[in-house]
């Protein structure tokens, strides 16, 4: 069966976590870890008579994101009410934005490049308020009551909607990682915080019906949910069963998507302009002012790494899209590390080692001086690459410097020719058959070198070892007696 094309679009909700206050009131926005219902006031609780006051910084942060995503910022934007009842909505409407019916969101259009240079288009960016958080006694199914904590209610959210430009779950994840990097780089949102970035996805196979997936809580889950959904839809198509247009819920415990009750009525949100908030005009000057204050963005950083340090595209992309990695890289270079070698170490072993150790790149044990030291040790011929990996892993784990590890464990490369000759002789004596074969088979030569390495625990200088082994074999071939 031919592969059917897949189209994936994302709808991402990111909290503007770096704001001090909520979107429409002065309550502290930093609610995590606070006792329930401590960050509440008449406004975010929707008390009768209260009125919303939009946060200027939220608009500025939104504009910064729109610039970074190459979006067209509206000259005059409006807030709209999205009307629906739900226990997490204090006013039973959400102050949001609307594209259409006279509504103008913060920005429209735009794009983002993911690794490999593919362009993912943005449809729109809008600002809205986060609902409250619900908790249940027991599970949602058997709970007799719902517990409402309104600390999150009214926190500023940015909704970013993409065009369905992603063709597989990996691209969706790559997009999210890239987006998170940008938001963190801009200093508007910390995607590491629990629930700070949430995502809904829509997916269609072969130009067929679009299915929405809600409740995806992390980037890893996005990839999983989409992969599951593709498999599910493929199986339906293979059996000639029509894919229904529906909204499905990602169950991250069972790792499947489930249909939200089919009988649930189609929502009618009755959008209309929020009468309590006047329109917001965004002037060119305002945009320029923010543009000037923007930090270097990942894409600009990538270009600079290629231009300034001669990094490979792949390394430049990987490092530049991660803020912590970029910081580490630039520190290493500043401390005199060779950019290309440093970049190879960062992209290669450092990432996988830290992942293996469950360490963040921001962990103090991941210090730039360690990387620079390591690269210097290799360059000076003091240790082999293989040893270097071992040293790096140990250095990360123990927080001992690479040099100290090498000294303490005696890992300096053996470059003493006389010493190596003794080891080679030993290996030849123990492997007479192999030596005979090595005279006409290069693979077996490598085997002999490997034996030398084993005996020296990897410390033998590979180049010198090769020369001695080859020289010894030549002498045997030529019948020259051992001296």
């Amino acid at each position: 069966m031919a592969e059917v094309p897949i189209r994936i679009g994302l709808e991402i909700h990111c909290q503007l976590t770096n704001l001090r206050t909520k979107l429409f009131c002065g309550c502290p926005a930093d609610y995590r870890g606070s006792p329930p219902n401590t960050h509440i006031c008449p406004i975010c609780m929707g008390l009768p008579g209260s009125l919303p006051s939009p946060n200027k910084k939220a608009i500025e942060d939104g504009v910064a994101v729109a610039i970074a995503l190459n979006s067209e910022i509206s000259k005059r934007m409006t807030f709209f009410r999205k009307n629906y009842f739900y226990p997490d909505l204090p006013k039973n409407f959400q102050i949001s934005q609307y594209d259409g019916g006279g509504g103008v969101p913060l920005a429209r259009g735009g794009y983002l490049h993911i690794e490999g240079g593919k362009r993912i288009r943005i449809r729109r960016i809008q600002i809205e308020e986060d609902p409250a958080k619900l908790a249940y006694e027991g599970t949602i199914d058997d709970s007799t009551a719902t517990l409402v904590d309104n600390n999150r209610a009214g926190v500023a959210l940015l909704e970013i909607v993409t065009e369905p430009d992603m063709e597989d779950p990996k691209e969706a994840r790559a997009f999210l990682e890239k987006l998170r990097g940008i938001l963190e780089c801009l200093g508007v949102s910390n995607g590491e915080l629990e629930g700070a970035m949430r995502c809904d996805a829509n997916i269609s196979l072969g130009g067929g019906t679009r299915v929405e997936i809600k409740n995806i809580s992390s980037f890893k889950e996005v990839e999983r949910a989409l992969t599951f959904e593709i498999t599910r839809q493929r199986q339906l198509l293979a059996r000639d069963i029509e894919v229904r247009r529906e909204t499905r819920h990602w169950d991250d415990v069972r790792r499947i998507t489930v249909s939200l009750r089919a009988k649930e009525e189609e929502e009618d949100y009755r959008y209309f302009p929020e009468p309590d908030i006047v329109p917001i005009e965004i002037s060119e000057d305002f945009i320029e002012g923010i543009r000037k204050r923007l930090p270097e963005l990942p894409d600009q950083r990538r270009e600079r790494y290629i231009r300034q340090f001669g990094l490979q595209e792949h390394n430049a992309e990987l490092i530049s899209s991660d803020n912590a990695l970029s910081k580490l890289f630039e520190e290493c270079v500043r401390m005199g590390g060779d950019p290309i070698e440093v970049s190879n170490w960062l992209v290669g072993d450092l990432i996988s080692f830290t992942r293996e150790l469950g360490m963040e790149l921001t962990d103090p044990r991941v210090s730039p001086s360690k990387i620079v030291e390591l690269v210097k040790l290799i360059r000076s011929g003091s240790i082999s690459t293989k040893i270097a990996k071992e040293v790096l892993m140990e250095s990360l784990r123990s927080d001992e410097s690479p040099e100290d590890i090498v000294k303490r464990r005696g890992l300096l490369k053996i470059s003493d020719e006389a010493l190596l000759r003794d080891v080679v002789e030993e290996v030849f004596t123990e492997n007479e058959k192999a030596v005979r074969e090595a005279l006409h088979d290069e693979d077996v030569v490598n085997f002999l070198i490997g034996q030398v390495m084993r005996k020296t625990k990897g410390k033998a200088d590979p180049n010198l070892t090769y020369e001695i082994v080859k020289g010894s074999l030549e002498r045997i071939k030529g019948g020259a007696p051992d001296s």
Binding site: L19, R20, T21, C25, G26, C27, P28, P35, P36, N37, T38, H39, I40, C41, P42, M45, L47, S53, P54, N55, K56, K57, A58, I59, R76, T78, F85, P87, G102, L134, A135, Y136, I140, S143, T144, A145, T146, L147, V148, D149, N150, E265, D268, R270, P273, P275, I277, V278, P279, I280, E281
Partner: protein, 95 residues
Amino acid sequence: MGERITLEDLERLCWLSRLRLSQEEKVAFLGQLNKILDYFERIDEVDVEGIPPTHHVIDLTNVLREDEVEEPQPDEVLELAPRRRGRYILAPRIL
């Protein structure tokens, strides 16, 4: 005049606005609401082609607040909730 809102429409509108009506209310409302809508029909006479809507009657824009914390006084707000458990507000269950 024709029936603009049927009983079925009325029930859907009540659902959308989460209102329970008694049987008597439903009967009375059907007649009243249709009569009101008959009266509203006169706006159809107006030519509104090309006329922009007025959402805000004043020409005011960009009234924004600085991002400065106002210390909340949560307890007096929380105490208004008829049912609570600890500091949580108790809402009915969600099926």
